[in-house]
């Protein structure tokens, strides 16, 4: 039954794709199918999470001697739930957002076709139970999303981004295939059951882990192989960016978890350390780069790198605990990671949809060109604010809960015997704290510069609130979730505790408390958090304050022009810009970037003293772009050039090759 729900989710998304291809006039149906697909996905996910039975099936597709194996367990269900929510809300959002595309039936067909395929691919990845089907679904996801990235291909930058994206996807996929191949070569067949049963030596296991980490990490956007991500995500239409950044990265994480925790017979703490370090680096550099961006969607993409880094970090913790036979704590880590994945999906979607709304109303994504929107677009601003608060993990919102859990996991380090680990994990915890704080700074910048202050451009001046209800409902749903799961996290955590039992057959410690009121991951004695109580006390205090300060006798505020210190009119250009805001951090973390900062002064010709005009230009580049990507590209071209020499164009040389080869081979066989 549940499995059929999942199937119908996949089929519905395919149906919407096919329906779009037919190019009928009823575009609404396309989105209806999408919405239904999302709803079914949610239903299937929740249903499976509630009754924890692993469902298995076979579909007569694929290789003659091996049909597609299907397996639907807690982990898949959880990620399917994430996809479902995202797709569901997007189906509300898209119809109005894609108004312009719908004017041109062909481009709309292309967009919807690949959207449907993309979603279907992601869902199939979760259902796959053999390497072959997994790879097909995986690549379907990648290729479809490639076409979506290349959707606005008139712009050459987008083409480059799309190419880079597809290249990375291909390389990553090859690495994943290789990882599967390594395990499969020690097993009979390449169904996941066979892989689980494989008698693989430790060294090969570690190789497989490394390959999988690179392959999935490339998709998930781990530093230093993340460069495609900030290029590709922003250029797609916003609801697609939301799906890619909010959901596709999660699918990559799903692959990583499935491979490391489930398929590989055992885990080693060294792997955990690797994950921990890479995660930390990704989290820190992700948020630092995000801070430096001016394009809103690029910024959000980089912040995805950060959040993925956090999740991988916590996975590393969980792996370390698992390898040291502290299964409950491993479960705790896994729960924290999964919950953060869930939350990230929520608020990242919310923010991308918000960015889409801003772009839709102002045709502007450059933070320095916006401002003062809180008055023009009040509802949007509230929703966006909620997104910002969740992502910068403030209490009462969901982002905080998962980071709190992460800290709790890290603080269990005392149970470990290995001193190195015990001293390293707290450091990474502090790095996590730094990341959170930087994220807060970053999103203060985002919200402050976009919504507060005075408009910096005519577009922002003329902006109006979204008038379509359905477009507004999508972010509303997400924002509500962000708040709700911030107050009652136990709803999700309960579901998750079952997931872990499938993957590492362990659940949270017995002493842990997960009630709507209390949240104590290890035990009530160790640490407890009650967002609900806090919410209550917030309300009480606010009421009291209001009563005291706005009771009778409170004078009404006087509204006056801003005090300009008597210098004359203030202009919007006097406000802090994005670069100005981040300048201190840029100077402090200067080594993290490749900064090219220029100040050109032109003096008045008569005297060398007084300045006519000053030009300031700032260009910040990613280290890994210069030190990882470009060298590879150059290398390939150089080798290709060298190889090109063998084809001289002279036929006598060619005959010479023939003779030489003949002689060589004859010599070889005569040995």
């Amino acid at each position: 039954m549940i499995l059929h729900l999942a199937y119908s989710a996949v089929l519905l998304s395919l149906a919407s794709a096919v329906f779009a291809l037919l190019q009928t006039r009823f575009n609404a149906l396309v989105f209806l199918f999408l919405g239904l697909s999302g709803a079914f996905a949610i239903a299937a996910g929740v249903g499976e999470l509630l009754d924890q039975t692993v469902l298995i099936d076979k579909i007569p597709l694929g290789l003659p001697w091996q049909a597609w194996h299907i397996r639907f367990d807690g982990l898949s269900a959880f990620f399917l739930l994430i996809i479902g929510i995202a797709v569901f809300v997007v189906s509300f959002y898209a119809p109005n957002y894609t108004m312009n595309e719908q004017k041109d039936p062909q481009s709309f067909a292309v967009l919807s076709l690949f959207t449907g395929l993309f979603i279907a691919g992601m869902m199939l990845v979760l259902l796959a139970d053999d390497a072959f089907m997994f790879m097909i679904a995986w690549e379907l996801m990648s290729v479809a999303s490639y076409f979506l990235v290349a959707f606005k291909h008139e712009n050459s930058a987008n083409r480059r981004a799309a190419f880079l994206y597809l290249l990375m996807a291909e390389v990553g996929a090859l690495l994943i295939i290789l990882a599967f191949g390594v395990v499969a070569s020690f097993a009979d067949g390449f169904t996941f059951d066979a892989l689980r049963a494989s008698a693989i030596p430790t060294i090969w296991m570690s190789i497989a882990f490394g390959l999988a980490l690179m392959g999935f990490g490339m998709k998930a956007g781990l530093v230093p192989i993340h460069v495609w991500l900030p290029e590709a995500h922003p250029v797609a239409p916003s609801h697609i960016s939301a799906l890619m950044s909010g959901v596709m990265l999660k699918v990559a994480l799903y692959g990583l978890i499935r491979f490391c925790f489930d398929l590989l017979p055992e885990v080693h703490w060294q792997w955990g350390v690797v994950l921990l370090i890479i995660g930390t680096i990704s989290a820190l550099s992700g948020i630092l780069y995000a801070m430096m961006q001016q394009n809103l969607k690029r910024l959000l993409a980089y912040s995805s790198v950060e959040n993925i880094g956090i999740i991988v970090m916590v996975l590393g913790l969980s792996m370390i605990f698992l390898a040291n036979n502290h299964k409950e704590l491993a479960a705790l880590g896994l729960v924290a990671a999964l919950f953060h994945a869930f939350n990230h999906a929520l608020f990242k979607n919310l923010l991308f949809l918000g960015a889409g709304m801003i772009h839709h109303q102002t045709h502007e994504l450059n933070i320095d060109m916006l401002g003062g929107l809180i008055k023009k677009m009040p509802e949007t601003s509230v929703l966006f604010l909620i997104g910002c608060m969740s992502i910068s993990s403030l209490p009462l919102f969901n982002g905080f809960v998962s980071e709190w859990l992460a800290f709790q996991t890290a603080l269990q380090v005392d149970v470990l015997d290995n001193g190195v680990l015990r001293s390293m994990i707290p450091v990474s915890a502090a790095a996590l704290a730094l990341t959170a704080a930087l994220a807060a700074a970053c999103f203060v910048k985002v919200f402050g510069l976009i919504f507060l202050g005075v408009p910096r451009s005519r577009h922002a001046e003329k902006a109006k609130e979204i008038d379509s209800f359905s477009m507004m409902i999508a972010p509303v749903i997400l924002a509500t979730f962000c708040f709700f799961f911030g107050i009652f996290p136990s709803v999700i955590l309960d579901l998750l505790s079952g997931v872990t039992s499938h993957i590492i057959d362990a659940t949270l410690p017995q002493t842990s408390v997960l009630t709507p009121l209390w949240l104590a991951p290890v035990s009530m004695q160790q640490a407890s958090y009650s967002p609900f109580l806090i919410l209550i006390s917030v309300l009480i205090t606010a009421l009291v304050l209001f009563f005291f300060l706005h009771g009778k006798g409170a004078t009404k505020a006087r509204i006056v022009p801003t005090w300009d210190c008597g210098f004359g009119a203030l202009s919007p250009r006097m406000q802090y810009t994005s670069n100005a805001f981040t300048m201190p951090l840029r100077r402090i973390f200067a080594t993290a970037f490749l900064i090219d900062e220029k100040i050109e002064k032109t003096m008045r010709e008569n005297t060398k003293l007084n300045v006519a005009e000053v030009r300031y230009s700032l260009h910040i580049q990613d280290h890994s772009w210069v030190h990882v990507y470009q060298p590879i590209e150059r290398g390939v071209n150089r080798v290709a050039k060298q190889v090109g020499r063998i084809q001289t164009g002279n036929i006598r040389t060619y005959i010479g090759y023939s003779l030489a080869t003949l002689i060589l081979l004859l010599w070889v066989v005569s040995l």
């Binding site: 003062g372 809180i374 008055k375 604010l385 910068s392 993990s393 403030l394 209490p395 905080f400 709190w404 603080l411 380090v413 005392d414 015997d417 001193g419 015990r422 001293s423 450091v427 915890a429 502090a430 790095a431 704290a433 959170a436 704080a437 930087l438 807060a440 700074a441 203060v444 402050g448 507060l452 202050g453 005075v454 004695q525 160790q526 640490a527 407890s528 958090y529 009650s530 109580l533 806090i534 006390s537 917030v538 205090t541 304050l545 209001f546 300060l549 004078t555 505020a557 006087r558 006056v560 022009p561 801003t562 005090w563 203030l570 406000q575 802090y576 100005a580 805001f581 300048m583 201190p584």
Partner: protein, 314 residues
């Protein structure tokens, strides 16, 4: 009963905060050979501000209005978490030290936004600097606090304090580092010299003041009070976490009143130290703050390591 105590303690917290600020000012004036205003001066200022009619820029949005309330509320919540005169408060169960940091972050978030709301250069400058410093201070603070909580294997403050109380007068080398780290962080977070100077309005140096430049009347009162409360919170945190002796473990009147007296003494000592420091040290350049906080982080790290290397049982 417990709840009553808890609420009373919180009220006490809020009530005493201006007094601490006043006393601190008093000490400083004395150290600098100036005639000091009375301890109660802060109360008078707050009262006056609440009476005055707020003057607000026309650019201000609703966020500008609500920010002060949010900030103040968050500080009060923080006050409910930190044990003042008694441990085992039901309120302190609801949030642990990480949440405490979260509350501070929450307040800061809105303070910075409020700074950006009017759209003046000063506001942006203040928010930018505030976020920079805090994002450096937070990890240092957590490092310091984690040292304690790992010793107590408990991130609830009252739990940690109890653990330290029961472990008797064992001398933890790690605590020394943690203490100094926390003091440094506290100075930075509460915007005192040498990181920030609460008394100046010189645009090149001001941080906290730059953000609240546009506030007036009751809003300003709330923010001022909140920052005084913050100072008190850090003071109490340091005092009760590292020198918990005297804090009431049973809700008898005697214990509580004794605890109060002890606490006052602790705070007096602390504020004298702070005053001394502020008189002796000069404000540092903005871009030396990272070194300062880096040092704090280092101390926290050393505390952590010495806990793991020197104090753990294995």
């Amino acid at each position: 009963m417990n709840w009553a105590i808890a609420i009373l303690q919180t009220v006490l917290f809020v009530a005493l905060a201006p007094l601490l600020a006043g006393f601190l000012k008093f000490c400083k004036c004395r150290l600098q050979n100036r005639r000091a205003p009375s301890f109660l001066q802060p109360y008078r200022d707050l009262l006056k501000l609440t009476r005055k009619q707020p003057v607000i820029s026309e650019n201000a949005s609703w966020l500008f209005y609500v920010a002060p309330y949010i900030i103040f509320t968050m500080m009060i919540l923080a006050a409910t978490v930190i044990p003042l005169i008694a441990v085992d408060m039901p309120t302190s169960e609801s949030a642990d030290v990480i949440v405490l940091v979260g509350f501070f972050a929450f307040a800061r978030f809105f303070l910075a936004l409020a700074g950006l709301d009017i759209g003046t250069a000063f506001g942006g400058m203040g928010s930018s600097r505030e976020m920079t410093i805090s994002s450096l201070a937070e990890p240092a603070m957590l490092m310091a606090v984690f040292t304690i909580t790992m010793t107590a294997s408990n991130t609830d403050l009252s739990g940690a304090i109890l653990h330290i109380l029961h472990s008797g007068s064992t001398l933890h080398p790690s605590f020394v580092f943690a203490l100094f780290a926390l003091i440094l962080v506290a100075v930075a977070e509460t915007g005192r010299i040498p990181v920030d100077n609460p008394t100046t309005h010189l645009e090149l140096t001001m941080i906290h003041e730059a953000m609240i430049l546009e506030y007036s009347g009751r809003h300003l009162a709330l923010i001022e009070w909140a920052s005084q409360l913050k100072l008190m919170l850090y003071g109490v945190l340091i005092a009760n976490l590292f020198f918990p002796w005297g804090i009431a473990q049973s809700f008898t009147f005697g214990a509580l009143s004794f605890a109060l007296v002890v606490l006052v003494l602790k705070l007096v000592v602390l504020s004298i130290f702070l005053a001394l420091a502020e008189t002796a040290v000069a404000k540092m350049r903005l871009f030396r703050v990272q070194e300062y906080l880096g040092f704090a982080y280092l101390l926290g790290l050393l505390g952590m390591l010495s806990h793991i290397i020197l104090e753990s049982t294995r």
